[in-house]
């Protein structure tokens, strides 16, 4: 089984985020970078499948030089190969263009499964896995909470639906599958894994050297800002019954906790 896991390096959730003066990006100084959370679960799912079925796990990341670190972490945890797509002059690719860049490299590699995290913790497009499926003409499932290989050609996936419902589906392989956090327990890198990491191949490809026709971005960041916090107090007037009815109505329909 040949599996590819798409991994993104994002600011660690503990980092204090400051918006740059141009209001189009964040200040990177003092920011700790880490593997996108749901991508860690995607990697773990890939490693578990490899342990069960045999095969090979390749990890791929698109970004600056620093994102080699998340690839090395993945190699230390047990991935076999890594591909770094160095985005040098192509830093602001929108999600469609980013997917096209990745497809450029992945299309001939004949992966059975491409795993990715459900969405990134920074931009949060939640579209990559779906676009990959379209561009590579594979089957697709999102919000996956469990996987099971049925045979060489078929994978069964458990998907999370609305309202606490789940659905099992069978997909033909190859497939592009996006993983929801929490379906497994991502492993720690072992000392041995870290020592082995250097012996595994990490290929770095410059995006500028790829065939990039039709990859110009169609969407751009206009402005980043931190949401204004507002406090609003509403007085519900009337008799006790009216107040209770009003409160239930708000809790049910506006705040949606009932």
């Amino acid at each position: 089984m040949k599996i590819c896991v798409l991994i993104k390096q994002v600011p660690d959730t503990d980092s204090v985020i400051k918006i740059s003066n141009d209001q189009k990006s964040i200040e990177m100084e003092g920011i700790t970078l880490a593997t996108n959370e749901s991508d860690s679960y995607a990697l773990e799912e890939a490693l578990l499948l490899k342990e069960d079925q045999g095969g090979e796990v390749t990890v791929l990341s698109l970004g600056g030089e620093s994102c080699q670190q998340v690839l090395k972490d993945a190699l230390a945890k047990g991935a076999d190969k890594a591909i770094h797509l160095d985005d040098d002059d192509y830093k602001d690719l929108d999600i469609l263009s980013a997917a096209k860049v990745m497809v450029n490299v992945l299309k001939d590699k004949e992966f059975d499964i491409i795993f990715s995290g459900l969405q990134s913790d920074d931009i949060g497009n939640a579209q990559l896995g779906l676009i990959m499926a379209e561009l590579l003409d594979t089957s697709h499932a999102s919000l996956v909470m469990g996987t099971e290989i049925l045979d060489e050609k078929t994978i069964k996936v458990k998907q999370e639906l609305e309202g606490g419902w789940f659905q099992w589906s069978e997909l033909d392989l190859p497939a592009s599958i996006t993983i929801q956090s929490g379906l497994n327990k991502p492993r720690y890198a072992s000392l041995r894994g870290i020592m082995m990491m250097k012996r595994k191949p990490l290929e770095s490809i410059k995006v500028s050297e790829l065939n990039l026709e039709n990859t110009s971005s169609k969407s751009f960041v206009h402005k980043l800002y931190i949401p204004q916090k507002t406090k609003e107090t509403v007085f519900i007037q009337g008799s006790a019954d009216q107040v209770v009815d009003g409160l239930i109505e708000k809790l049910t329909n506006e705040i949606k906790v009932l």
Partner: protein, 605 residues
Amino acid sequence: MNKPQLLPTQKINYSNLKGRGGKFLVSPVDEGNCYSRDMFSEENKMFLDAVKEFAEKQILPINSDLNVLNEKLNRDLFLEMGELGILNADFPEAYGGMSMDKVTSIIIAEGLMVGLNASFMVTFADHTGIGSLPIVWYGSKAQKEKYLPKLASGEWMASFALTEPGAGSDALAGSTQAVLNEAGTHYILNGTKIFVTNGSWADTCVTFAWVDGKKFTSFILDKDCEGWVVGAEEKKIGIKGSSTVTYFFENCQVPVENVLGRVGNGSAVAFNVLYVGRYKLGGITMGGAKGALELAYEYAEDRKQFDVPIRSFGMIQKKMVNLVVRAWEADAVTYMTAGSIDDGLTHMDPNDEKYYEIVQKVIEDHGIETSICKIVGSDASSANVDDALQIFGGNGFIEEFPIAVMYKDDRINRIFEGTNEINRLIIGGTILKKAVLEELPIREMISNRSRNWIPDRQYNEDERLNYLAQLIEFSRSLFFFTLNESINYYGQDLKNEQWILEPIADMLISLAIMDSGFKRNKNIKENSSLKSAMMPVIDLVIHNRLENMLNDGGNILAHLDCCDNHERKNELTVQKQKLQIKFSRISTMKLIMKDIDKNKKYYLD
């Protein structure tokens, strides 16, 4: 003696000192390198991150459960850490370990302390250090095959029993006896061992007894040894989640094949593993000093009084800076020591038959450094939990706050692995031994520095660093002058003069901190923000330690002057006048605080 003698200048070959114990003492700041965390390899950094992540996710959340005796939790952690290589980095590869270097073992100690659980760290350190290392170092092939794989994987837990009611710091005063039975198959042990860490949980025990009343010998006990009786748990002030008991050997039957090393060779087993315990405890307490700092900073930021965070008050800020400085000092000496031991073992193959014999020699050669790590780490940790608790105010006295537990847990650090007093004696004794045996060019240094306390040379292009280098070299000369005067006065008896040996040890400690801290700066990338941010810390540390040096050296010299009515202290006064101190403590500390606020990094990771 009225005037110091002018001795001929002697040439010292510094390149021969790489990997040698005591190198820091005789190498001026512009000679040779010193290992620091800034030299971590990519693997080192990744491993530190991995261990920290493990501690944050697997230890921190169950911290309070680990503060009461819970064998299963400790064993479960051991098994997980065995899988990850955290438990067995020091074990030989052939027996389930990783044969890693000493820097890695400090990285593990520091990383695990992110879990802020001293009880577990004691259990862990006892198992991986004194509990298992004697078997790694002295075990026969059969002993290694029988015990090490299970100790490396975490399936078994180890203990080490040396202390007896009448034999604490004087370890050879024990009275446990071992007699060979008539059949010649077993040694029969009788005696009592106290304060045995991991005692009631351990599957193995390395212990000691006198064979025929005169041959101090080490034995491995396991659960098949009849007569190994485990006493009740001690009620301790702190580290309440670690097991501490008395062992009673009541005609305890130990097979002859369980003699560890040779009959009569027990003292080497006992003392050599203790060196390792010391630098590892240095790493653990350095991690603890950082942990206290993190807690204090977080609290000082959240806690508001008079409508502002208490972090904005000068007296709290002064404490914050001192917390940083102590952790920084412990960090510098601990990694310097581990790096130097590793340097001494470069080119050695861990599979070589003689490997562990050489490891012991190299570690023993670093006897001064290992004791310095223990003292500096435990003193830093002790002062830091105290200051941190003070920052917590009344809340710090309530046990629901982690700092209260850390405060109580910390107290043992200045006692076990050799009390800090015994460790000062070791430092003093070792420097005298190295001088007599000429293991270090101490005579040459005494001779060279008698001429000029601040050799006239450009140590650094940067004006401020050059000035600081001069202060360090002055301190180095002061040490050699004081040492020489003390040796001249006391002769051989100096090794018994604890009034003098203690300040001599303290001077060496100060010098090690100044030297390794300054040399660390050389390892940091030019023009990096870390390099500039660390400058005020170096400045403060060197001035603090210079003050200590002047104080300790001055006290010794004044005492010698009193004893024989000579005027040695005048020389110090004359030389000191050549120092033109340019320093404002308050401004420097304020600068450090400003940077702590800005980066929240403390220059420690």
